[in-house]
């Protein structure tokens, strides 16, 4: 592969090709039908190649930082910043992306709306790449939001399932509202440092010092962290991730375990040099991490759905990463960061693998319920082996990669406790081990509940077998990587982890990780983990039962309870408010509009023209007078005729008479438009009234009649007053704009018809807005009529 492109261009291409080629998917889908997934796979491979082509130079310490001015007045650029960290993420995103899209070819039913599925997957991949390679916080924010939106679309892929819609809405509400906090954080950061550019801040120690010393340090950190925590399902924000499991399983594997939920972790790693080394950093990041790790790990016991179990385990594992990035001690800052970065890569491999296995099981056994599964070892031997590798790696069994990074987690916890002193020497490692015990127990449960034990006779298909080769290859590749990274850790460490850690710590780091590293305290902690993990596994069902009971008795102990209450109340309250503001009958809207009109005009007119007496010195041509008389007759007819059809025709007669006036005032364009619009609106009017009884049935009470008459007469008199006063010098004379247009129409725009030149050229921007409104109006009518049909 010869790719000697400029790295800036190739990274930009890697970001934007998925966007562009996603647009072509519907066309391609017409040509090759359900094979369109292979096309999407090729796009992912293309992005992967583009990133790997730039990777070598970046991984050897050369960072890429290049910008094009975008909004120079705001200090916002389109900028690419590629260092070890973002390149590692880029490779994970595209690498897992290839496997997921490949796998989807067999997983997704051919009858599904495949173009939409692959389109959103590619759009997600592009947004994620854009996010990790952004040099600019605003650009990062834009791509960050795009990942939220694509995730929303993918969770809600099955639009007809209420659970999907609920999950999609929940994820968007929580992540998108938290992202706004993050945006504010970015803006404060800019006001402290004077730059939106991340590398500029990272490379300037004086700027970093000024951030750390600033009085807004804590708010900035908190605001940015809220966005990161919501994205990575940490702290109270975790509740969206379990519901996001309504997405197709490949999507869960891609977005909600391996990549998108790591965006928050990425952001924490990215801002690590700016904020770390402070007490607040440790307390906020590690504190949230440890609590989430324990709570989510514990709650995983209750889950009976495979994917829900994996969701809670993902939350807990992401919390490991948070905790480790939060470990900052002045003695050895690198330990926690190195452990976190290594575990990040390992988690992407084993968790994606487990999700793909979950997909296989659901696809073949037609259920994801752990209580109904069991004993599939004989029927699905290959899947069993892959699942065991993934789950044991998550449990931290040697010689798999999860063992190594968990050891590093324990080591960094020990060290952090040691630095803090006091009871923390035991507390922090103790909590870490507790998290590990939970992980061990549910990892083992994952394998035993599906593959071991007796095979239930009820509810499972007669014959279950390993899936097609297309669905086996992606998890198999991941399983091979798990073993490989475990046995020869120097491969990922030297090529990906060291450069990433170096760029987080802003100094070059040499890491050495070995499978056997002697009898250390952390190895002892691993032994304890296994011992208690096995013990806890034996009590697994008891704990799950107890959790169910508690949840049943005290529903308000769950955060979901508050989320649902909040959302439902918000819906209820706003339905009430909007039903007050918008009651329905058009008459009320018209009345309020007219009353406002009277108020707005009568006051200035009376105020300004108090001493001006209107002069009635008009020259009305006999021909004009005739037209006016007809107009009055037509207006009276529209108001008094007893049948709808007659009234409507009378109204349109009035419209045509107005057109006649326009001709008389030499405005042919206006007259033509008026005639045509009048014609069309009459036609639509007639079509509408054909469907209702032809006479006015309702009798109008005297009170209503009086009220309406007063309103009409007042409006008419106000308009009359306005007209009479218009020429009397209320408005100070100003130079008419039309001279400019008359003069410049031909020379600037090459047109003789000034009206048209104004519409399409001088005020083209307005016209663009107006035709957009027209399209929206048409869509609105379409929706109103369609949805009314549904309600009946």
């Amino acid at each position: 592969m010869v790719l000697n492109m400029d790295p800036f261009i190739s990274v930009s291409l890697a970001i934007f090709l998925p966007f562009l080629l996603a647009l072509t998917i519907p066309a391609v889908a017409k040509l090759i039908k359900y094979q369109v997934g292979w096309y999407a796979t090729c796009v992912a491979i293309l992005s992967f190649l583009l990133i790997t082509s730039t990777a070598p130079s970046i991984l050897y310490g050369k960072t890429l930082h290049q910008s094009i001015a975008w909004l120079p007045s705001m200090g916002i650029d389109y900028g690419i910043y590629a260092d070890g960290l973002s390149t590692m993420f880029g490779i994970i995103v595209t690498g897992i992306g290839i496997l997921i899209i490949f796998y989807s070819n067999a997983y997704m039913n051919k009858k599904e709306d495949l173009p939409r599925y692959y389109q959103w997957l590619l759009l997600f991949m592009g947004s994620m790449l854009g996010m990790v390679f952004s040099a600019n916080t605003i650009m990062l924010f834009i791509f960050w939001e795009l990942t939220s939106i694509t995730s929303f679309m993918l969770i809600g892929y099955w639009r007809n399932k209420p659970e999907s819609v609920y999950g999609a809405t929940k994820s968007l509400l929580i992540t998108a509202s938290a992202d706004l906090f993050m945006l504010v954080g970015f803006i404060i950061l800019k006001s402290i440092t004077g730059s939106f550019d991340i590398p500029t801040i990272l490379n300037s120690s004086s700027l970093i010092q000024s951030v750390k010393g600033h009085e807004l340090f804590l708010p900035t950190l908190l605001l940015i962290f809220i966005g990161a925590a919501a994205k990575s399902a940490q702290g109270p924000f975790y509740i969206w991730l379990p519901n996001a499991m309504e997405a197709p399983t490949p999507v869960s594997a891609f977005l909600h375990s391996a990549t998108m939920v790591k965006a928050g972790i990425y952001l924490v790693a990215r801002i690590h040099p700016i904020f770390s080394g402070t007490e607040a950093w440790f307390i906020i990041i590690s504190g949230t991490g440890i609590i989430t790790m324990l709570v989510a790990g514990f709650l995983a016991f209750r889950q009976t759905d495979i994917k829900a179990l994996l969701a809670y385990s993902t939350i807990s594992q992401l919390a490991y990463l948070m905790t480790m990035y939060g470990y900052t001690s002045y003695e050895e800052p690198g330990l926690g960061v190195a452990a976190a970065t290594f575990h990040l890569l390992n988690h992407a491999t084993f968790k994606a693998c487990l999700f793909l296995v979950a997909g296989i099981v659901a696809h073949e056994a037609a259920t994801r319920d752990l209580t109904r599964l069991g004993g599939l070892k004989r029927e699905m031997p290959i899947t069993f082996i892959i699942a065991s590798i993934g789950a044991l790696s998550m449990a931290g069994i040697p010689p798999l990669n999860g063992f190594l990074s968990k050891e590093m987690f324990y080591e960094s916890s020990l060290q952090m406790g040691h630095v803090l002193g006091g009871i923390y020497v035991y507390l922090i490692p103790g909590l870490a081990v507790l998290g590990g015990i939970f992980t061990f127990a549910y990892s083992v449960k994952f394998v035993t509940a599906i593959f071991l034990g007796p095979r239930p006779n009820k509810g499972l298909p007669e014959r279950i077998h390993d899936p097609s080769i297309i669905m086996i290859i992606p998890p198999a590749i991941l399983a091979i990587l798990i073993v490989l990274f475990g046995l020869i850790p120097s491969i990922p460490i030297d090529n990906l982890i060291s450069p990433a850690v170096s760029s987080i710590l802003m100094q070059s780091q040499e890491l050495h990780v070995q499978l056997w590293h002697g009898l250390t305290t952390s190895l002892l902690m691993t032994m304890i983990t296994f011992l208690f993990g096995i013990l806890m596994y034996t009590k697994y069902d008891v704990i799950a039962h107890w959790q169910n009971n508690i949840n049943h008795k005290y529903p308000f102990l769950s955060i979901n309870y508050f989320y649902d209450a909040f959302v439902n109340n918000a819906k209820g309250i706003f339905t009430q408010i909007s039903s007050r503001i918008q009651p329905g009958p058009i008459k009320r809207y018209v009345v309020s509009l007219l009353l406002l009109l009277i108020l707005l005009f009568i006051i200035p007119i009376l105020y300004l023209s108090a001493d001006i007496i209107p002069q009635f010195n008009f020259n009305i041509h006999p021909y004009e007078a005739l037209v006016f008389i007809f107009m009055i007759v037509a207006a009276l007819g529209a108001a008094t005729l007893p049948k709808y059809l007659q009234a409507v025709l009378s109204l349109s007669a009035l419209g045509y008479l107005v057109a006649l006036m326009f001709i008389y005032l030499s405005a042919p364009d206006l007259a033509l438009t008026q005639v045509l619009v009048e014609t069309l609106s009459t036609l639509i009017f007639i079509i509408a009234i054909m469907k209702i009884p032809q006479t006015f049935k309702e009798s109008i009470s005297k009170f209503t009649f009086l009220k309406d008459a007063i309103i009409s007469i007042t409006v008419a008199s106000v308009v009359l007053l306005l007209m009479l006063n218009a020429n009397q010098g209320i408005i100070p004379p100003f130079e008419s704009l039309s001279y400019y247009f008359i003069e410049k129409s031909l020379s600037l725009a090459g047109g003789h018809n000034i009206v048209n030149v104004i519409i399409v050229d001088f005020r083209g921007y307005d016209t663009l807005g107006e035709i957009s409104v027209m399209c929206l109006a048409a869509l609105g009518v379409y929706n109103i009529i369609q949805s009314r049909g549904e309600n009946q």
Binding site: L680, I684, A749, G750, H752, N753, I759, G764, I771, C775
Partner: protein, 138 residues
């Protein structure tokens, strides 16, 4: 509503009015007319045909998806608005070019004319979408 007279008038007028609406569209830059008027005229004659022959009858022989017309029009207008950016000019910068053809004589090509064509399609599409929806609604 559908007397033989209406049907005959609609049949005769249809091609003439469509041609006239196109001529209004193209002449709009220098004479009365333009995309909006042309579009409304087009919409009028199609609705006349719908009324004269009945929506169902027309749909059998010719049933375009009007909503895609306004999508196309909006796209065209937006492209015209943004394309000057590619050549390094301002948003919405218009260009005028005079062509001298052997038979047709001098023809004026205006980029704003393309924009007007976009307006034309938006007007036709949205008006007829509304008209057809209102007509189909039971």
């Amino acid at each position: 509503m559908t007397t033989i007279i209406t049907k005959m008038v609609a049949r005769i007028c249809l091609p003439l009015v469509i041609l006239f609406s196109i001529s209004l569209l193209l002449a709009g830059h220098n004479a009365p007319g333009g995309g909006f008027i042309g579009g409304v005229m087009f919409a009028c004659i199609i609705s006349l045909a719908y009324i004269a022959y009945g929506l169902e009858e027309i749909k059998k022989s010719y049933n375009p998806n009007w909503s895609s017309w306004f999508g196309f029009g909006l796209l065209l207008a937006a492209i015209t608005a943004f394309s000057p950016l590619i050549f390094g000019h301002n948003f919405f910068r218009s260009a005028v070019e005079f062509l001298h053809l052997p038979i047709a004589g001098e023809i004026e090509l205006v980029s704003a004319g393309v924009f007007d064509i976009g307006v034309y399609f938006v007007v036709i599409g949205s008006l007829l979408t509304i008209f057809k929806m209102a007509g189909e609604d039971q």
